[in-house]
Subunit: 304 residues, 2 copies
């Protein structure tokens, strides 16, 4: 393994779909490789942006298998395996290890609400113990806007204490910067990835390790500049330019907007395919998106 | 098929678990049969109360297969098949039809929030079309406290209009009585089941068809009396007694409380098994629960 701990700009990688809405594994591997060649230090496949929870477990396993067989370094991938059912999380996590990976991103079980810290601890604990593999490195996936569950610092601390070699970090997509900063301070060595490049520079200054973001599917080259120059005089200007693009993308349904951008930059219309309940942008949204991006001179072209 | 449309008191049936937290199929069939012999007109397996989303699809399929092979009339069962992934919902729904059933209870895809009515419509529509079976009768499962999605009357109306022979009813667990009443009025012939026996009498008076409730796992004999006598002078008194028990049960985590009651009434300790993130009641909660039920003379004894 080349890099422990992980560090840098990660893309919460999109999942291209065939017209029957199944994962398009060939385009997927091509996109993953493009990301790694264009500013991404790593990938987080099968997260929220990857529409993972809109796929059956078998479909998610097919993505893991395609990734494992792609030649992409598995130590640069943090694969989403969190599910409502701990038995699903266990099966997916084992498959990541079988495919040569070690890093997984795990949502809390997100169907039930108002559950206790004890219940959430028990769920993560069951997954880790049932997988039972010392290679495993687990990142907690904090995203209360989707899960309805706001994982407390106390819960995260309990998990770190119980599984210090396994529970190694967090992706925090809450947008709650004080919470991310508090984790950096309270848990030294714990790898805090903000879920948006909006917080990339702040995170690096506070002891975080990078970012894992939906929008780095298209902003990775800009984010990479911030990452490479975070300790330079130019860092603030680079971060400001990056935030200007993020601001635009955030004003639209993000996954649909990113797929729209990919369809244009790759000239591949199937990138527009998206699974319900998510929907494509309307034509009016498409026009507005591209007009706004043009105004900030955002480079949407890329090698196919 | 003996009864179309469905009508009466349904239990959102609990799922007993083995000590390894897998479904205990033998105890499950025994419990289902007890419910049908003790006040339930029908069963809703694999719903929220049945911890369905805490099970893998394979585990849910094993429950459907056990149900299909149990001798229980499948036309008295509305089986939960809703999942985040429409491909999972399709697979589960097809298995219900293969097992001799026709009625399914379908959650909206519940991972993503702030989705559009178009997206939710597309999700239900894809499931119905991919199953592609004219026998199918689909009940919409409204439970915003768990899903974070409040299905609008307009959306439900669109689904009824598009699939009039398939989208036949709703289980509304929102606790929002005006919404249930509005559905009874706006959609004649649409089968409105409140998700609690608290609304049983009101629903029957407003044109609803019964209830599907977690707590009828233990209150079914009392609820059956309300149902049988809803148009009599005694109805209000029967409903008031039923609500008194519901009030007590609602003050505790409901699934854990019900499993505690079942463990006592069946003298089978494995009924306490529950999947994280849900947890057993604490000893203090257990004492409080039984003390309160004793005060209302609630009969917890039953044949094993």
């Amino acid at each position: 393994m080349s890099k422990v701990p992980l560090r840098g700009v990660y893309a919460a990688a999109l999942t291209p779909l065939n017209d029957d809405l199944s994962p398009d594994l060939k385009s997927l591997v091509r996109h993953y490789k493009w990301l790694l060649a264009n500013g991404c230090d790593g990938l987080a496949p099968l997260g929220t942006t990857g529409e993972a929870n809109s796929f059956s477990v078998d479909e998610r396993l097919s993505v893991i298998d395609a990734l494992g067989g792609s030649g992409i370094p598995m130590d640069r991938c943090i694969v989403g395996t969190g599910s409502c059912a701990l038995t699903d999380s266990v099966r997916l996590t084992k498959r990541v290890l079988d495919a040569g990976g070690r890093d997984v991103l795990v949502l809390p079980p997100f169907y039930y609400k108002k559950v206790t810290d004890d219940g959430l601890f028990a769920s993560f604990s069951e997954v880790i113990q049932r997988v039972g593999d010392s290679r495993l490195r687990l990142y907690i996936y904090q995203f209360p806007q989707m899960t309805g569950l706001d994982l407390s610092l106390d819960l995260i601390g309990r998990l770190i204490d119980a599984f210090p070699k396994t529970v190694v970090g967090v992706k925090d997509s809450s947008g709650n910067w004080p919470n991310m900063e508090a984790m950096c301070k309270r848990f030294p060595g714990f790898e805090v990835f903000p879920g948006s490049e909006r917080f990339l520079l702040s995170a690096l200054k506070a002891g975080g390790v990078g970012c894992i973001s939906a929008t780095t599917n298209v902003t990775a080259p800009m984010a990479a500049k911030v990452y490479a120059n975070w300790n330079s005089d130019n860092a603030d200007a680079l971060q400001t330019a990056l935030i200007a693009v993020r601001d635009i993308l955030e004003a639209f349904p993000p996954i649909a907007a990113l797929k729209q951008l990919l369809a244009r930059t790759t000239n591949q219309a199937s990138w527009l395919n998206i699974r319900p309940p998510l929907m494509r942008l309307t034509e009016a949204q498409v026009q507005a998106l591209f007009a706004k991006l043009e105004a900030v001179s955002f480079e949407t072209a890329r090698a196919a």
